[in-house]
């Protein structure tokens, strides 16, 4: 078997195992809940029959292994159980399936993440390559100082500065991104501009610095010196000789930053009241709605693991040493 294929398959297998263990951890979290579940959710006034029925519905009378199998099998088929909220001590069940809660929000979050990626990735590449081209110039220093500042700030600080400037002092964008489900694309873009801009500022910094570093690292290698000696200009050296070999680290860092978006999106969604999965998760944590928290955590963790896996595989596949074995 080709060594690259072998490494990739190994890496995929490891990713699957990780995903499996992570799902066990998230499921096991519910077992750690101190005290009796039924009473905690339904309240002190619940009758014993109601509590017993609730426990039966959750399957608390079955062993944990069986419950895990049920839960994960349901999750794979798109059934994540029912939310805890909406249940009352009288036994009236107004709870909604978790999937109905998450479905439209997941679409919104993915929209926000891809909107951000479409702006951030080309911008970071452009800034990184041009900073490497005009290394140590004023332009390079200004871009570096600005990105270093945005890296050190918490997301909500960046978000609120943008709110102060762009919605309060000069009202260009709406400060709340309350998107209705039937909004058209233009309205959606307009309303999610502020959260997307915040996330862009947060992730461009890292990607740009890595792009610049990846190119500059290569400039010391002998083949670049050879190109220089043969009379290539600075622009030619960087764009034609250095860049093709820098793609692997750059692609890795892009995938890694998109994975980071998963975490950043939680805080930013709360700031702008953007109806996404992150906001749902924070609300569920406050009200201790465990099935919703578990489902959101599973989605976030899976996205994070898969994106990191892609980053790894890109790194392996574009590594010339692996591609051309001796």
């Amino acid at each position: 078997m080709h060594p690259v294929l072998k490494t990739v398959v190994q890496r995929l297998g490891l990713g699957l195992v990780t995903l499996f263990i992570v799902s066990i951890i998230i499921f096991a979290a519910i077992e750690l809940l101190p005290g009796d579940f039924g009473e905690a959710v339904l309240g002190q006034a619940a009758t014993e029959d109601t509590v017993a029925a609730f426990r039966r519905e959750l399957g608390l009378d079955k062993p944990a292994v069986l419950r895990y199998v049920d839960w994960i099998a349901g999750a794979v088929q798109g059934d994540l159980g029912n939310s805890f909220s909406g249940r009352s001590s009288s036994g009236v069940d107004r709870s909604r399936p978790v999937v109905d809660l998450i479905g439209p929000r997941l679409w919104n979050t993915m929209f926000l993440a891809s909107f951000t990626a479409v702006i951030a990735v080309p911008l970071a590449l452009f800034l990184g390559i041009s900073a490497a081209l005009y290394r140590n110039s004023i332009y390079d220093r200004v871009v570096n100082a600005m990105t270093l500042t945005t890296i050190s700030f918490p997301e909500f600080f960046v978000a609120y500065i943008l709110i102060l400037v762009l919605t309060s002092l000069w009202p260009i964008f709406p400060s709340l991104s309350n998107i209705s489900p039937d909004a058209d694309l233009l309205d959606r873009l307009y309303r999610s501009a502020m959260p997307a801009l915040t996330l862009t500022l947060v992730i461009v910094a890292h990607m740009m610095r890595m792009t610049r570093a990846a190119i500059i690292n290569l400039l010391a290698s002998p083949y670049i010196q050879m190109a220089r000696l043969s009379g290539a200009s600075q622009r030619e050296v960087i764009l034609k000789h250095a860049l093709p070999n820098a793609w692997a680290p750059i692609a890795t860092v892009i995938a890694f930053n998109l994975a980071y978006l998963v975490v950043g999106v939680v805080v930013v969604e709360v700031v702008f009241v953007y109806p996404g999965v992150g906001q749902l998760m924070v609300d569920a944590v406050s009200s201790r709605d465990i099935p919703v928290v578990q489902a959101c955590a599973l989605i976030f963790a899976a996205t994070y693991i898969i994106l990191n896996l892609i980053a790894d595989i890109i790194g392996i596949v574009t590594n010339p040493k692996l591609l051309h074995p001796k």
């Binding site: 990780t18 609120y160 919605t167 400060s175 805080v267 944590v285 406050s286 709605d289 928290v293």
Partner: protein
């Protein structure tokens, strides 16, 4: 005797008593050569430490003292106005230095005790225990820590103790990785072997043989981990699941006063109020980063090369 061009003698210079510089002198020399960024960082950190330690004497009002007018504008009674239920913002900012920074510091220390201790044990042991710990840490690190913290907080509830424990355990995974990877290189040294052969226990080998030799990277990591923990706790408090009211805390203060932004058009100070706690967070992060950068540069032994 000091030498001047008038009384110079080579013999005197040769035989003059050369005193070794005291530790304090060396510290002063090193500090004297530090760049302005590191000095700025150290001054800021010192300022925060003083604020945190002496908060009750510095703050003009109590931490949760409520006044009649909520959202009061900036004036001589309340330098930065009051918040949504009429508490003095300046006082809460000062108490916040104690609470937010204190909790972050406690968390970082705990994570270093857990992660560093286990990392050293794994590096020395190198058997099934090392395998078990390392694979466990790999899996824990595959989940973004903010998401994991949210799951655990929803189960155990948000209290300061729970917050410290959860973040410390999640963060210990990173400390474990670093400690193990630096310690592995030291464990194979002859002097460690010698110490074990003369029958020293695990505790001695960890503390007296390995730890002193891996200190610089660990101290630098401590600064960076502190920043990360500090930002995570601020983010969780901002989301309303971290440090709970009435404890003054910068993360939740940002959230509580965020509605003041809508008045920024009429009074710019109202718009700046929610940014004060946020900039307190950002300033400390930048300061710690500056100091860590300089420390790393200093201990790595790289000489400044002219550009």
């Amino acid at each position: 005797m000091t030498q001047t061009p008038q009384n110079y003698s080579a013999a005197n210079e040769k035989t003059a008593f050369v005193s070794e510089r005291s530790r304090w002198d060396r510290v002063k020399l090193t500090l004297g050569k530090s760049p302005w960024t590191a000095r700025f960082g150290m001054i800021v950190i010192l300022f925060y430490v003083i604020l945190g330690l002496f908060a009750p004497w510095i703050a003009p009002y109590g931490e949760a003292e409520v006044f009649a007018v909520p959202f009061a504008p900036w004036d001589e009674n309340h330098v930065f106005g009051t918040d949504q239920i009429g508490r003095d913002i300046l006082s809460r900012l000062i108490y916040g230095a104690r609470n937010t920074v204190g909790i972050a510091l406690a968390t970082t220390l705990l994570s270093f005790i857990i992660g560093g201790g286990l990392g050293l044990v794994a590096a020395i042991n190198r058997s099934y225990l090392d395998q078990l710990l390392s694979r466990g840490v790999d899996v824990l690190m595959a989940i973004p820590s903010l998401i994991f913290a949210l799951v655990l907080l929803s189960i155990f509830g948000s209290s300061a103790i729970n917050l410290i424990m959860i973040i410390a355990v999640l963060d210990a995974t990173r400390v474990f990785r670093l400690t193990r990877s630096v310690a592995v290189n030291v464990v194979v040294m002859e002097y460690v072997e010698a110490a074990r052969l003369r029958g020293e226990g695990l505790g001695w080998v960890m503390r007296r043989e390995i730890l002193p030799n891996i200190m610089p990277p660990l101290i630098a990591e401590f600064g960076l981990r502190f920043c990360f923990v500090f930002l995570t706790i601020a983010a969780l408090s901002f989301l309303g699941v971290g440090i709970q009211p009435p404890t003054a805390d910068w993360g939740s203060m940002v959230r509580e006063n965020a509605s003041l932004f809508q008045f920024a058009q009429y009074d710019i100070k109202a718009g700046l109020t929610p940014l004060l706690p946020a900039s307190a967070i950002a300033l400390l992060t930048v300061a710690v980063n500056f100091v860590v950068d300089w420390f790393l540069h200093h201990t790595s032994g790289i000489k400044d090369t002219p550009k």
